[in-house]
């Protein structure tokens, strides 16, 4: 590799020659077969990320609102240097094999990475970039919006406005559970969990509890107390799923879990659908074993319109809009573009999954 120290102090003519040679060599080395690195983008995404990649890369894109079909993904990853994907794309052994050994890196436009076989990627030395932080505010905001829509029965209430339920007003009608004086239990006090807690604090929450593998420094900010999962379930008026989905916590919220919660408790999940056993959730709600649930994530997504969860007045389901603000989505796209380009150019990814 060239180093400038070789040239330092040399006459100008030699320096110019160096610049000429090194520039043409960089162009060659940055595109193994005398062209730009090939990147496959698995969806129509905000332009921010594409604008970053376009000058330096050859982009192939599944330019649609809907997820790329699996066989198309397998076909298109072949021979690519990088993959720009979304959480709807399962990146497993088959996809990695189809890509071939020239696949250098992956960037997912999400903070969750349960859709990626990380063990395989590590084994193949393929770094994977993700998008923490830039979506934290939007997702925490939506989590609180969902919690309130559930606890204050907003969907039910606004439905009654249209269907004639509103009219037989009574001081005891459409009463919800207030946050004031409540205990909030956050399962997974990560970036999003802490941001949610911060937003809930001024509503008069009297106690924050959290569960997880280890104590978090950020807990001090909201005075959150680390407790074991069962204690959290038994003590909380609001139980929030904000953790990452792993092999270990698949179906964490099941029949047993719901049975340990208060009958007045409200469950909110904005992490991943896989955290919840949906049949058990349905049973817990229909029998009023817990008071209500609000979920932004389901299995599968989209949730079929005939899902029994959708027949319940005490269940609010949103179509995975946690990070759905222009600001957040644009930033997620840009960061994914940066993650990919940085690595292709020989630098560290700004945000690489460890």
């Amino acid at each position: 590799m060239f180093t400038t120290s070789v040239i330092r102090g040399s006459p100008k003519l030699t320096r110019d020659l160096y610049v000429l040679i090194s520039r043409s060599l960089f162009q060659k080395s940055s595109s193994m077969s005398s062209q730009k690195p090939k990147v496959y983008v698995t969806r129509r995404v905000p332009q921010d990320g594409l604008e970053i990649l376009r000058p330096h890369c050859e982009i192939t894109q599944w330019d649609s609102e809907k997820p790329v079909p699996r066989d198309e993904l397998i076909r298109q990853v072949a021979g690519k240097d990088a993959l720009f994907c979304l959480l709807t794309d399962k990146i497993d052994v088959d996809v990695l094999n189809a890509a071939g050994s020239q696949l250098k890196c992956i960037g997912t436009m999400s903070v969750g990475y349960d859709h990626i076989d990380m063990a395989e990627c590590r084994a193949r030395n393929i770094p994977v970039g993700f998008t923490p932080d830039v979506l934290t505010n939007a997702t925490a905001e939506l989590t609180v919006g969902l919690l309130l829509a559930t606890s204050r029965r907003l969907m039910e209430a606004s439905q009654s406005v249209r269907d004639g339920g509103w009219g037989t007003w009574d001081p005891c009608w459409m009463l919800g559970h207030g946050l004031d004086g409540s205990t909030v239990g956050i399962v997974g006090l990560g970036r999003i969990g802490v941001a949610v807690a911060r937003r809930l604090a001024p509503f008069g929450v009297s106690r924050f509890l959290y569960s997880g593998h280890s104590p978090k420094d950020e807990a001090k900010e909201v005075g959150a107390e680390l407790v074991d999962f069962d204690t959290l379930l038994g003590s909380s008026d609001f139980v929030l799923g904000c953790c990452a989905l792993t092999k270990e916590n698949q179906g964490l919220f099941n029949k047993e879990t719901f049975s340990k919660m208060k009958s007045s408790a409200i469950f909110v999940n904005t992490s991943r659908g896989g955290l919840v056993n949906q049949q058990d959730l349905y049973d817990a709600l229909v029998s009023n074993q817990i008071a209500a649930a609000g979920v932004d994530v389901t299995s599968p997504e989209p949730l079929p319109t005939d899902s029994p969860l959708l027949t319940l007045t005490n269940c609010v389901v949103l179509p995975h809009i946690g990070s759905a603000t222009e600001k957040a989505r644009g930033a997620m796209s840009a960061l994914t573009g940066k993650n990919i380009l940085s690595f292709l150019q020989g630098d560290k990814m700004p945000c690489q999954i460890k």
């Binding site: 995404v45 459409m174 919800g176 949730l303 609010v316």
Partner: protein, 323 residues
């Protein structure tokens, strides 16, 4: 001494009703519906106390119907637009209301409504039910407006307005503005700037109406007001329906003069099912559930009962209306 006769225009939660029945003879509208005007006029005849809540009007005609025996009026609300306060004062009738105990619940509803409107929850919820989820219309599917780095304008920084601002702070609001008749001492706690109504309209990304009603502010939010707001602005009203000219609001929403609105209060209530506002995707309406939590309603009922009873005894009310 016999128990004083009171009229209850709608039965409050048991705790409050229990307190009243202990010391009074109660005549009450016990059905699960709004009281009709003629029933009100009939019910109050010869009573010493009236226990009511909005929208049950306690005006000159009702006071006349009650007669000279009437000493004490108590409303289970903080809103007072249904009571002729001037007439009550002139007749030496005490009037009690329930500020404070419903502040948390109402501020919470206001924020819920704001988030439901800004993050398009009504549309999102519909998409899940009707299969719209999965057949996305555009690349930024259901992307909403965020509070982060926004300017929030609160029209009326009273107890509820202040409580709303406190709850919005950690969402990353950049600036709070407020308008009203006078500056409030507590504005420094949230760094809110006192500005003219026009400036608030022009600069705010979220305009939140939390003021009480009076003759001067009926229809405050009209065509002119909406035209001064940003096209990207969201309007939230949890004060009273008559603050808003509803035709003008409909026009503003339909034409994109403002982005969206969330209303917990309308005129009338209930809003008729065929009202055009219901047809708008960018208008969220909830059925006046501002104070609708078990905790708040019980607290309101108790306080209103105590106000009623104190008035009957000629004692100082725990919570008399401002003079």
């Amino acid at each position: 001494m016999s128990k004083p006769l009171v009229f209850v225009s709608r039965v409050p939660p048991p705790r409050g009703m229990g307190m009243i029945e202990e010391v009074c003879t109660v005549r009450a509208m016990r059905e699960d519906r709004f009281i009709r005007r003629e029933e009100m006029l009939e019910g109050v005849v010869g009573v010493e106390g009236i226990f009511c809540h909005p929208p049950d009007k306690v005006d000159k005609a009702v006071l006349d119907a009650a007669g000279k025996s009437l000493k004490s009026v108590s409303t289970m609300s903080v809103g007072l637009d249904h009571i002729d306060l001037t007439e009550c004062k002139a007749r030496g009738i005490s009037v009690g209301y329930t500020p404070g105990v419903l502040t948390d619940a109402t501020a919470e509803t206001t924020v819920s409504l704001l988030l439901a409107t800004s993050r398009r929850l009504k549309e999102a919820f519909s998409a899940v039910l009707d299969g719209g989820w999965g057949t996305w219309e555009n690349g930024l599917y259901l992307c909403g407006k965020t509070l982060l780095e926004s300017t929030v304008g609160i029209v009326g920084l009273g107890r509820i307005g202040f409580a709303v601002a406190k709850r919005l702070q950690p969402f990353g609001v950049q600036k709070f503005l407020y308008s009203g008749n006078t500056r409030k001492d507590w504005d420094s706690e949230i760094n809110a700037e006192f500005v003219s109504f026009d400036r608030l309209l022009e600069e705010s990304d979220f305009v939140v109406a939390c003021c009480s009603m009076n003759k001067e502010n009926v229809g405050l939010f009209n065509k002119k007001a909406f035209s001064k707001m940003k096209k990207s602005a969201i309007f939230i009203n949890t004060s009273r329906g008559v603050l808003v000219n509803q035709e003008d609001l409909y026009d503003a929403l339909k034409s994109g003069t403002i982005l969206a609105a969330g209303l917990d209060v309308t005129s009338p209530e209930p809003l008729p099912r065929d009202h055009p506002l219901h047809t708008l995707k960018n208008c969220v309406i909830t059925p006046h559930i501002g104070s609708a939590t078990v905790h708040a309603r019980n607290a309101m009922a108790e306080l209103a009962a105590r106000n009623l009873i104190a008035g009957l005894k000629g004692e100082a009310l725990p919570s008399p209306v401002p003079q």
